[in-house]
């Protein structure tokens, strides 16, 4: 996903990073030549990058006018969290149905352990990385490729929200760890409904924070 072609991949990563970090604000008009100059590339690979980003709804190409960075709608946070919840609850349910939780539980425990350390140290960046890893493990464990594809996009959008809006308060970190512990427990008990309930509360915590 990160090096399909040297030039096009570089352009893609460059622009995407700037969008997700909030460096390029919504509504900004960017041109292919401009980005190309910055990276020493011609328009072609930049155009490719723009097409991919357009498919991800991170910008909108309008013919012969340029590309405008998609503004974040007020409903974006709710939309993202709702979809994350839907996808992940379904993934957990499938793992329970298939009896394949055993393959994922050890990895979850390992991530959770690291996450607790980062929470204690107040290392928010690593904490967030571990948080994402935890949820991704569940998605991947389900074996549903489409869920994984969707989840990757949702992760991007949430990253963009995180940079735009406030950072998590350190006090929330411990609570999130507790949530994850409950989630892992629910999986260990093969209780998909409880997983869904706890996940819903977990998302509500984030929604409150945004």
């Amino acid at each position: 996903m990160s090096d399909p072609n040297p030039a096009a991949g570089r352009a893609y990563t460059h622009v995407k990073t700037r969008i997700l970090s909030g460096d390029l604000a919504g509504g900004t008009l960017v041109s292919e030549v401009q980005v190309g100059m910055e990276l020493g590339l011609s328009r072609t690979p930049v155009h490719e990058a723009f097409l991919r980003l357009d498919a991800e709804r991170l910008l909108t190409l309008s013919s012969r006018k340029g590309a405008v960075i998609t503004p974040i709608s007020p409903r974006e946070a709710r939309n993202v969290l709702e979809m994350r919840e839907a996808v992940e609850a379904t993934a957990a349910r499938r793992m329970v149905e298939d009896g394949s939780t055993d393959k994922t539980l050890p990895a979850l425990a390992s991530v959770l352990e690291r996450q607790r350390v980062h929470a204690a140290e107040g290392d928010v960046d690593r904490f967030v990385a571990a948080d994402e890893e935890f949820h991704s493990l569940v998605i991947d464990g389900s074996g549903n490729d489409i869920a994984a594809q969707f989840y990757a996009q949702l992760r991007d959008r949430q990253q963009r929200l995180r940079h735009l809006l406030l950072r998590l308060r350190p006090g929330d970190l411990a609570g999130a760890c507790g949530d994850h512990e409950h989630l892992a427990d629910a999986l260990a008990k093969s209780d998909a409904d409880e997983y869904a309930r706890v996940l819903h509360a977990h998302m509500a915590r984030y929604e409150g924070a945004l």
Copy 2:
């Protein structure tokens, strides 16, 4: 979505149609020049089309070898149906929470009526179109853009499955209509849980058919 640029859009639609209809089987190697010749275009717009289709996972670009049509995995049907169920149940739940079912119910009733006619006439193609319209109305009614985006992709993938595998038996049409009636009723009663239950059964019906 269907005419971003004249040439690139034509190439995109052309190739996508052939993939979804099963005309281009999984594993087939297609080249840009080949498609360009067929449509009287140069490689550039065809390349654009390929990039978009790659983003939708309908084909895979491998550098300097060509584009291979993504084969349908044996798990594809289950993956698609699971995600459809997750997304649509969430959409219905939001409509209930927001009390916005009233805006959608009349349209649902209208589609349902048409669908019954098509079922009675055994017009499978129109029936399927109405079926898709019904579900899309629910998704759109939720106002979750991301859900709509995901659902559109799922619809494409399901269309591909439908063409690859057996057609629906006419006997199923009436049953599907009954399901839709139940779904609309659940929405009218603002019972999101019942909607989810009926939807699950509805999807199981399709999964059995594949």
